[in-house]
C-alpha cells in the first residue's frame, strides 16, 4: 500500500516524474544502443563471412582482402603450388582494379567503378539479381552503375583503366551480362565484375591477383592447411575465417571500447538519477517513514514501498528507452554505414532481443539498487530520534 502511495504520488509531481522518466529512457536507449554497437559489428561480419564456404583467404603479405591496392604477382605459379597442398580443393582468385565505365553510344556518360576480376560467381562477393554471371567479354554491374549509365543487360559498355585518358590507353568493349548486389561494398561504391583474364589485361596486371579464396576439403583443418601453404610460400599471407574475424575485431576494438565506456556512463547516469530522485523523495518523507515505523510496519515493508518508486520509474523509463533505442539504432546505422572502408552489409547495430533485454535488466537492477540505498538508510535511523526531529 506504501508502494501504491508512492506510485500515486507521481501524479502530484508530474514535472519531476516526467523528467526522471525522460532521463531514464534516454540513458536506457544509449545503453541498449551501445550494447548493440559493441556486439553488432563483429556478429554481422562473422555471419557474412561464414556463409561463403571458402575457409581461407590468400592475400599479399600484411593485408586483408580489399585492404590495399597491393597485388600478388606470379599467380599462375603460386596457384599450382597452392593447389598441390593436401586439403586444398579449389582456389578462386580475385583481382580488384579501378576502371572507368562509359556508354558505347555517344551520350558520353561514364562512371568510375571498382572492377572485380574473377572466374566464377560462387565466392559470394556478390549476389546475382538479374541476368547471368559474366563470360569473357562481358561485364556485370551493380544497380548504381546500371542506373547512372542507363544500361540494361545486353547493352554494350566501354571500359578503360581509371585515370587513363586519350586514345592511347588500353580499352575494351563489353556486353552487360546482368546486375548484382555487392556484399562487401562500402556505401557509394560502384562495382562491376569481369572475367579475371579480361580485367588483368585491361589493367595491365597480367598474372596478378588481389587475393584468392581457398576452399578446403572435408576432414581438413583450416589451420593445418594454412600452415602447409605457408610452408611453401612466404610471399603471401593466408588467413582463416577466424583470423579475419579476429583482425576485424582488433580493428573495431576502438568502437567496442567506446561503446563499453558509453554504456557504463549511461548506466552510471541512470543510477545516479534514480538514486537522487529516491533520496529526495525519501528525505521529504522522513516524518512519515518514522511514523509508519512507530506504527509497527516492518523495515522490509517500508523499504519495499519506497523502492517501488524507483522500480516503477525504471520499468516505465526503461521500456520507453528500449523502444527509443531501436529507433536511434536505425538512425545511427544510417550515419555509420557511410564509415569508409567497411562493407555496407556489415551492420553496426544488430537489434537483438538479448541486447534489449540486457540493457533493460541492467537498468532495472542498478535503478533498484539505487532506490534501495536511500530507503535502507532511512529505515536504519532510530525511530524515536526521527520522530523527535520531525516534531514541530
Amino acid at each position: 500500500m506504501l508502494a501504491l502511495n508512492s506510485i500515486r504520488e507521481f501524479r502530484t509531481r508530474p514535472l519531476r516524474t516526467l523528467l526522471t522518466l525522460a532521463g531514464v529512457a534516454v540513458t536506457t536507449a544509449m545503453l541498449a544502443d551501445m550494447l548493440m554497437l559493441g556486439r553488432g559489428i563483429t556478429r554481422s561480419f562473422g555471419e557474412l563471412l561464414e556463409s561463403r564456404g571458402y575457409e581461407l583467404r590468400l592475400t599479399p603479405k600484411g593485408t586483408l582482402p580489399f585492404d590495399t591496392e597491393a597485388t600478388v604477382p606470379g599467380f599462375a605459379t603460386l596457384r599450382d603450388s597452392v593447389e598441390s597442398v593436401a586439403g586444398v580443393e579449389r582456389v578462386a582468385p580475385v583481382l580488384a582494379a579501378s576502371v572507368t565505365v562509359e556508354t558505347s553510344d555517344d551520350s558520353g556518360r561514364s562512371v568510375e567503378a571498382l572492377a572485380l576480376g574473377m572466374d566464377s560467381g560462387d565466392q559470394g562477393l556478390y549476389r546475382l539479381t538479374e541476368g547471368e554471371t559474366p563470360r569473357p567479354g562481358e561485364v556485370l554491374t551493380d544497380a548504381d552503375v546500371r542506373g547512372s549509365l542507363g544500361v540494361e543487360p545486353g547493352s554494350a559498355v566501354r571500359l578503360r583503366p581509371a585515370g587513363a585518358t586519350g586514345a592511347w590507353g588500353r580499352r575494351t568493349t563489353a556486353r552487360v551480362s546482368g546486375t548484382g548486389e555487392f556484399v562487401f561494398a562500402s556505401r557509394g561504391d560502384l562495382q562491376v565484375v569481369m572475367r579475371l583474364d579480361d580485367l588483368q589485361a585491361l589493367s595491365s596486371q597480367e598474372d596478378r591477383v588481389s587475393f584468392a579464396m581457398i576452399r578446403i576439403g572435408e576432414g581438413f583443418e583450416p589451420d593445418s592447411v594454412r600452415a602447409a601453404i605457408l610452408a611453401r610460400n612466404d610471399r603471401v599471407e593466408i588467413v582463416t575465417l577466424a583470423g579475419i574475424s579476429e583482425r576485424l575485431d582488433a580493428r573495431l576494438s576502438y568502437f567496442r571500447q567506446t561503446a563499453l565506456i558509453l554504456a557504463t556512463v549511461s548506466l552510471v547516469v541512470a543510477t545516479l538519477l534514480v538514486g537522487t530522485l529516491t533520496a529526495v523523495s525519501v528525505s521529504e518523507r522522513l516524518g512519515l517513514i518514522a511514523a509508519l515505523r512507530a506504527v509497527g510496519l516492518s523495515r522490509r515493508r517500508i523499504v519495499g514501498g519506497l523502492a517501488a518508486e524507483s522500480v516503477v520509474l525504471c520499468s516505465i523509463g526503461g521500456a520507453i528507452g528500449v523502444a527509443l533505442s531501436v529507433v536511434v539504432a536505425g538512425y545511427l546505422e544510417s550515419i555509420l554505414s557511410d564509415f569508409p572502408g567497411l562493407p555496407v552489409a556489415v551492420r553496426f547495430f544488430v537489434v537483438s532481443a538479448d541486447s534489449l533485454v540486457t540493457a533493460f535488466a541492467l537498468l532495472l537492477v542498478s535503478g533498484t539498487v539505487a532506490g534501495l540505498i536511500p530507503a535502507l538508510n532511512a529505515t536504519r535511523l532510530e525511530v524515536a530520534s526521527m520522530l523527535h526531529k520531525e516534531a514541530p
Partner: protein
C-alpha cells in the same frame, strides 16, 4: 480496571547529541491499567514524548524496565517490538502522518495489511473503524480533501484498526482548533467508554481535564 497493560519502573532515558548528554527522563515509574485514560502533561521539553515512546516500545530506556502485557520489552529485538506495536499499540501523532495519496479507507487498511489481515476482512474492518470515528461518508477521500479534525480521526481509526491494547497519542490536538479539539476529546472519551485504554501527552488542559487521570512530567520526573 484490573489487568495492567503497561508498567514502567524507574525509567531513565539519556540522549546524546554531539558531545552533550540530555537526560530526558530521570526515574519515572508508572502503571497503566486496562481501561485507563491517562493524560500526561507538562512543559515543553519535560519528557512527555519520551515517556510515551518508552511505554509503546518505540524507544528503549537507558535504564529501568517496561513490561507490556506481561512481556519485558528489554528482551525484544527492534523488529519484535515493531510487531508488538503493530498488533498491540495504536499511535496517534500531532501531524497525523497519513499517506497523502491513499484514501481514508486505505490509510486505515495499512496496519491491517501489514498484520496480514486478508483483503476482504481488512476492508470491512477499516470501514467499520472509520464509521466508529464518524467518517463513514469519507471513506474514499484523501487526506488533502479532509479537514484537520477529519484527518486526525482517520489517524485515530488507523491506530484502532488492529484493536490494540493501548492507544498512545502525542499532542493529538496540537494542530487543531478548539472546537475540533473538543470533538477529538469526545471521541477519546467515547472510545475509552467502549474499553479502549488511552495515554495522551498534551499541553491542552481541556483535553487533560477530560481524561480519567492525569500526571505531570516536569524535568524528566513525574509529579503526582
Amino acid at each position: 480496571m484490573s489487568e495492567i497493560v503497561v508498567a514502567a519502573r524507574d525509567l531513565t532515558r539519556d540522549y546524546r547529541t554531539g558531545r552533550s548528554r540530555v537526560r530526558a527522563l530521570r526515574g519515572v515509574s508508572i502503571a497503566v491499567p486496562d481501561g485507563d485514560f491517562l493524560a500526561v502533561t507538562g512543559p515543553s521539553g519535560s519528557g512527555k514524548s519520551t515517556l510515551l515512546h518508552l511505554l509503546g516500545g518505540v524507544d528503549t530506556p537507558t535504564s529501568g524496565e517496561v513490561v507490556f502485557l506481561g512481556r519485558d520489552l528489554a528482551g525484544m529485538s527492534v523488529e519484535e517490538r515493531a510487531a508488538l506495536r503493530l498488533e498491540q499499540v495504536g499511535l496517534v501523532f500531532q501531524r497525523f502522518h497519513l499517506l497523502p495519496m491513499l484514501t481514508a479507507l486505505e490509510n486505515v487498511e495499512l496496519p491491517l495489511a501489514a498484520a496480514r489481515v486478508p483483503r476482504k476482512l481488512r476492508r470491512a474492518r477499516a470501514a467499520a473503524v472509520l464509521e466508529r470515528v464518524a467518517l463513514a461518508d469519507r471513506l474514499h477521500h484523501r487526506p488533502g480533501e479532509l479537514s484537520g479534525g477529519q484527518c486526525q480521526r482517520v489517524a485515530i481509526a488507523r491506530a484502532l484498526a488492529n484493536e490494540p491494547a493501548l492507544v498512545l497519542a502525542d499532542e493529538p490536538t496540537g494542530e487543531l482548533d478548539r472546537a475540533t479539539s473538543r470533538q477529538v476529546l469526545a471521541l477519546f472519551q467515547s472510545l475509552n467508554a467502549d474499553g479502549t485504554t488511552l495515554v495522551v501527552a498534551t499541553h491542552d488542559l481541556e483535553l487533560a481535564a477530560g481524561a480519567k487521570r492525569m500526571i505531570e512530567v516536569v524535568d524528566g520526573r513525574t509529579i503526582p
